[in-house]
Symmetry: C2
Subunit: 247 residues, 2 copies
DNA sequence: GCATGCAGGATTTTCGAAAGAAAGATATTT
DNA sequence: AAATATCTTTCTTTCGAAAATCCTGCATGC
């Protein structure tokens, strides 16, 4: 009766087509919550009262709880026994733990991809790099601040490039872990980028090109070292930006 | 009224004491479901109908769904859009993926623990090894099949030993991942052990002692190599047992 | 004969209310 | 006045029913 689902569950002959093709209410809750936490709309540590979320998203308790439970195992949400949920806190220690773990996972995945990658793998990397490069050139020269849309467009390309690098590692688990850790790092990277963009201090595009070149040359050791350095440098910048403010 | 919780949430002056101190119904559902899946009581691939689970555990839909959602992100349960849940399937490929990922994670964690471990760390390893050794000696000499209780007691000691090795790695994430991957490997190890125990073909106790010795000698390279070989050997035995049956 | 559409039943998913706990406020006792 | 008990309020958690969806078998039309 008053149940208004946005579920058009009848297979819309193109599964990848519709962008907001969120099926169940629980899935919608999951995505919106995750996106809001990552974007920093909810403060780290902030309690996530169910009544508040119910009103904000126009959903009922059940789908919200399901989403929160999933996010709990992904370390974005903290759940206390009978005291509800809260946004997982952030700290410099956690930030380093995420980046180091991510480095470990992706370096291994990159090594395996370099060993097993075929022509499609190489083509995927080149394509992703090019798209990322275009986006960077479109936004970087302007010294101005980036809008949220521009930033997220850049983020998507960036992730797609790193994803392409490890695509042929042959391990579902490594790819999944990489995705999860990527989401976690976004919590730190997005607010840092929104704050101020110290352009010029770092040539990210060049770092990416170096990684790509080493990967295509099948030089696993160099590629791994470059990738690790790439993540370490980002973490150092974020640490520098976190330190002066909230210790 | 008819709500019968087993929640004795008032802090029972010893939090670690009571073994069945499962607080919320959702938590109970999570643990029982996980244990039943790992123990192989539910067949891999089997659909997990909610009505069936409701009757089996005496719980309502909400806590069951929450548990299933958590188990989904832990790869023990598969969730299809509007078609409910099912036990995640098993395969030789998945088995190898779990063990190799676990090897990667724990070798790194072991290396870091060896670098950072203090006296307590060493003592923890020695203690865990001793307890494991006692349990093994108590059960191994008998050629008979092990009961479920004996097997799970052994499993606990085994896990505690491996857990002690990496305890001082300094990374929450690595420890958590290790735990999760351990649960996943149990799905393969437990049925294999219950089937038949090819005792004599392998001296697991000796392998453990070697790993411990290398760790205490702070020989990271050797310890990592031994640990990786330990897991590889187990996987090979499981593969041998899986192959002839269900391909 | 084969595809297509349509009831009917089975199952998942969502809802809102009711029950249970925790935190805070007020009263009571020592 | 301090400590403890009781009441209120706020919030989480659980429940069972209602709604939406999927699946299956049957009939209908080509």
């Amino acid at each position: 009766m008053r149940v208004k689902r946005n579920a058009t569950a009848l297979a819309s002959h193109e599964e990848t087509a519709s962008p907001e093709a969120s099926f169940t209410a629980a899935e919608t809750a999951y995505r919106k919550l995750r996106s809001d936490i990552v974007a920093g709309i909810f403060e780290p540590g902030q309690p996530l009262r169910l009544e508040f979320l119910r009103q904000r998203y126009g959903l009922s308790f059940s789908p919200l709880r399901e989403a929160l439970n999933r996010l709990q195992t992904e370390r974005l949400v903290l759940a206390a026994a009978l005291r509800g949920f809260s946004v997982a806190p952030v700290s410099i220690e956690e930030m380093w733990d995420v980046t180091e773990t991510r480095s470990l996972i992706e370096c291994e995945a990159l090594k395996r991809s370099i060993a097993r990658g075929d022509d499609d793998w190489e083509a995927g990397i080149v394509a992703a790099f090019h798209a990322l490069d275009l986006q960077v050139r479109r936004l970087a020269p302007l010294g101005r601040e980036l809008s949220v849309d521009e930033l997220s467009a850049l983020e998507v390309r960036h992730q797609e490039f790193h994803s392409a690098l490890i695509a042929k590692c042959g391990s579902r688990r490594l790819i999944n872990l990489s995705d999860q850790l990527h989401v976690e790092t976004q919590r730190y990277r997005l607010p840092a980028l929104a704050g101020k963009m110290p352009t010029g201090t770092r040539d990210v595009a060049f770092e990416h090109r170096q990684i790509m070149d080493a990967a295509l040359a099948r030089d696993a050791d160099t590629a791994q070292a470059l990738l690790a350095a790439h993540y370490r440098r980002t973490a150092e910048l974020i640490e520098a930006q976190m330190s002066p403010r909230s210790g």
